[in-house]
């Protein structure tokens, strides 16, 4: 499969009369975009904003991030989810780079929603602090989950995915500034030069632990709780086959943007033919019962072995009980003779002294650590808040709280906040961006 990503670099965004892209400036007709969003009558109110790096803007509760993309051949950018089922990872896809569509709740947040700051001390905690963002702030009639800590956020997330494709429509007939090509020959038909190199699989563990549907990561629109590990082509991940779920504690989350741009996959691609033979992706998931975790590990190790993989990289989307899936797969791979490297984040507690992963094994001797869910962060107030800051304290966000004997509530009267890194939107960047690590003090 050959994927050509045609890139258009967005320098700035403005509202204007027409949806257009020229010389790096993306212009959006706000009313037209909002009218499109409101075609889903579950949306009761919607506003569109621009948030640039350096702006004095805080956003909370943030639910999803999507890179605006469009297919010149008319295929949906998210086949099987927001459009007809079709093969992803092949052909030409256009992308608006250096920007994202962010989905923010007008009021209601939950465990799976997070915070983004566009300037100041808080800016560095998320990738989106560095991007030009088109921010959809909206509310819906999904009253059934308004007060629930776990939310499907279905109307809002779909609005974001649709909006991303809608906005990218303005470059459909243009010539990209540059093209990235992603191509791998069929696994067993590679040149002898490539065959000489150690072969590697990338094992992904997206979050899928909710047993009720509507919350989990989707693959071509299918709920990933209902699958056992399988083989996927890395291009599928880069080209819209995976939709981020609405469940995981948010600093551990891989947003749809993260899948579309997965740095770990791109890094393995860059090494392909040089230091490794990148076979492809083993798509696993995260399960809630021990037997399911063990079954997934069994499948992952068997597939790696059957493919003849010399090495594997395992990446986990979560902390806490998912560490058992992570360590389980890692150990199963090592036991099958596959040299493995893990990528994850840690949860060492506010005092930094708790065990970093809930389960450990001395066979897991090569781990890249991306951040600490438990790190306490205090930030000053920001001039503008998109969404509702109170959600951080009130709605059970993974890194916020209503009250604490020592620290008080997460949101103070003056708009300053104290929170755990746990609520920074996709903050631990385990998909590969993280320039954080963990050190002993």
């Amino acid at each position: 499969m050959r994927l050509e990503l045609g890139n258009f670099h967005v320098r700035d965004i403005a509202f204007g009369d027409t949806l257009a892209f020229q010389d790096g400036l993306l212009t959006i007709n706000k009313e037209a975009a909002l009218a499109y969003i409101r075609e889903d009558d579950r949306i009761t109110e919607a506003g569109l904003y621009i948030a640039r790096p350096g702006d004095n803007i805080r956003m909370c509760p943030v639910k999803e991030a999507i890179e605006p993309r469009v297919r010149p051949d008319g295929r949906s950018i998210f086949p099987g989810y927001e459009g007809e089922l079709a093969q992803a990872g092949d052909g030409v896809t256009y992308a608006l780079k250096d920007c994202s569509v962010l989905v923010v709740g007008r009021h209601w947040g939950g465990f799976q929603d997070g915070l983004i700051d566009m300037n100041g001390e808080g800016q560095k905690y998320t990738l989106f602090g560095e991007l030009n963002n088109i921010v959809l702030v909206a509310d819906t009639n999904e009253v059934f989950e308004q007060r629930e800590q776990q939310k499907k956020n279905d109307a809002l997330r779909r609005a974001g995915h649709k909006l991303a494709e809608y906005i990218a429509g303005c470059v459909k007939d243009l010539e990209p500034e540059e093209t990235e090509v992603f191509e791998l020959e069929p696994m067993i038909k590679r040149t002898s030069d490539v065959e000489k190199l150690p072969s590697v699989v990338y094992v992904m563990q997206p979050q899928s632990q909710m047993e009720e549907m509507g919350y989990n990561t989707l693959v071509y629109g299918w709920d990933m709780n209902h699958m056992v590990p399988t083989i996927m082509h890395p291009n599928e991940v880069l080209d819209g086959a995976i939709i981020s779920g609405s469940f995981m504690p948010v600093s551990s989350k891989w947003s749809t943007y993260d899948y579309q741009n997965c740095p770990n996959i791109k890094a393995l691609y860059a090494e392909h033919g040089k230091t490794i033979n990148f076979l492809g992706v083993i798509m696993s998931n995260l399960n809630v019962a021990l037997e399911q975790k063990e079954r997934a590990a069994l499948f992952v190790a068997q597939m790696a072995k059957t493919l003849g993989a010399d090495g594997a990289v395992v990446a986990e989307e979560g902390y806490g009980n998912p560490d058992a899936d992570f360590i389980g797969c890692y150990v199963a791979l090592e036991d099958a003779g596959v040299k493995t490297v893990g990528v994850t984040n840690e949860c060492t507690g506010r005092d930094g002294q708790s065990q970093p992963l809930v389960t450990l094994d001395e066979k897991c001797d090569a781990i890249v650590s991306c951040g600490n869910v438990s790190e306490l962060i205090t930030l000053p107030p920001m001039d503008t808040v998109l969404g509702e800051l109170d959600a951080l304290a009130r709605d059970g966000l993974s890194g916020g709280w209503a009250d604490d004997e020592i620290l008080g509530p997460s949101v103070k009267a003056d708009g300053s906040i104290i929170m755990e890194n746990n609520a920074m939107f996709c903050g631990d960047e385990v998909c590969g961006w993280s320039v954080k690590t963990m050190k002993e003090f």
Binding site: P263, N264, G311, N321, G352, A366, V368, K436, E440
Partner: protein, 347 residues
């Protein structure tokens, strides 16, 4: 100018060698022995030097510590330093002991140094900054320099870097840091992978720590007479969560009366534990806290009696330290009521 006091043993205090290891502690005005070396770079005046024989403090620890704390009582002190102790085991343990005591009584920064092989490291590394020192006294200059650098940061209120950067033994605290060279995780992953595949040395970012074990409590002698208590980290609470237990990173717990209940009812109890689907537990809390089964098993005479409360908190994100504290707060209630054994249900 800030003020510091140094502790050394009989040898470095120029009293004598092994023959003087029983030297009782004394405090000298000004700088003795290594203090002179420290004074070269320290941002504090070393006002006094305490000298104590290694055997004396080893065999009469409580008296030695009490005597030294007494000597320090009326002294202005912003920093307390001990050693460096190199590989001398009794000296290293002495430095750790006195530093810990001073830290606890005076709440000031304490710094010492010793070699990796020194037993004092394992004993005290979690309680203070122990700089990684050489194994022989000829390393004095180097060790003092490294200690001084850290001491100055503490004196000047500067941020202390991680153990590797500053040269101290890790104190078991792990925190996130931004890399000085911002190499992304994807690149670090590839580098580590290629090295591991080629059998080359690499460094993991998450060293697997050693695990800590507890002695097995003896089994109950006669289950039919035993009093059992139920505890859970599954966050089962009355629907109004009266104790306002947090859904993650909990610091609070509650105890709820089950004396007359035949089981827990959905609508009266629920789970507040974030991180899993609450549907099943909200509908039937017994799936986490099996009060119904315990009541039936009680009637059948499988065990003697049931403690009238169950104890509840939330496990996700909760620190080990908080969990320990909460457990220690629950224990007296169990002891008071002559509970014999406990069932803990986790999620």
């Amino acid at each position: 100018m800030k003020k510091a006091i140094l502790y050394v043993n009989q040898f470095f205090g120029q009293i004598g060698g092994e023959d003087k290891a029983d030297f009782a502690p004394e405090i000298r005005d000004g700088q003795v022995g290594p203090a002179i070396e420290f004074a070269k770079g320290l941002d504090a005046e070393i006002t006094h030097t305490i000298i104590c024989g290694d055997n004396y403090i080893g065999s009469n620890t409580d008296e030695a510590v009490a005597a030294i704390l007494d000597m320090l009582k009326d002294k202005e002190m912003d920093l307390f330093i001990a050693g460096p102790a190199f590989q001398a085991g009794r000296y290293g343990v002495a430095c750790g002991t006195i530093c810990k005591a001073v830290k606890e009584s005076r709440d000031i920064p304490v710094v010492t140094s010793m070699n990796n092989e020194n037993p004092g490291v394992e004993m005290f590394k979690k309680d203070m900054y122990i700089l990684k020192g050489g194994n022989i006294a000829s390393r004095m200059r180097k060790d003092v320099k490294v200690m001084t650098a850290l001491c100055n940061k503490l004196l000047n209120g500067e941020e202390v870097g991680c153990a590797d950067d500053e040269g101290y033994f890790g104190r078991g605290i792990r925190r996130q840091v931004w890399l000085k060279e911002p190499v992304p995780a994807s690149q670090r992953m590839v580098d580590m992978l290629v090295k591991k595949l080629n059998g080359e040395p690499f460094e993991t970012e998450l060293p697997i720590p050693e695990l800590d074990r507890v002695e097995i409590a003896p089994a109950v002698k006669d289950l039919k007479k035993a009093r059992i208590a139920l505890v859970t980290t599954g966050g089962i609470v009355p629907v109004d969560n009266p104790d306002r237990i947090q859904s993650a990173s909990a610091t609070r717990w509650g105890r709820y009366n089950i004396e007359t209940a035949d089981g827990l009812k959905g609508g009266e109890y629920k789970t507040i534990h974030a991180g899993f689907d609450p549907g099943a537990a909200d509908a039937d809390p017994n799936v986490i806290t099996p009060v119904d089964a315990l009541k039936v098993l009680l009637k059948e005479g499988v065990y003697g009696s049931l403690h009238p409360y169950f104890y509840s908190t939330v496990g996700t994100g909760t620190t080990q330290a908080e969990a320990q504290r909460m457990a220690n707060e629950m224990v007296p209630y169990l002891q008071e009521d002559n509970v014999d054994a406990v069932i803990m249900v986790s999620t």
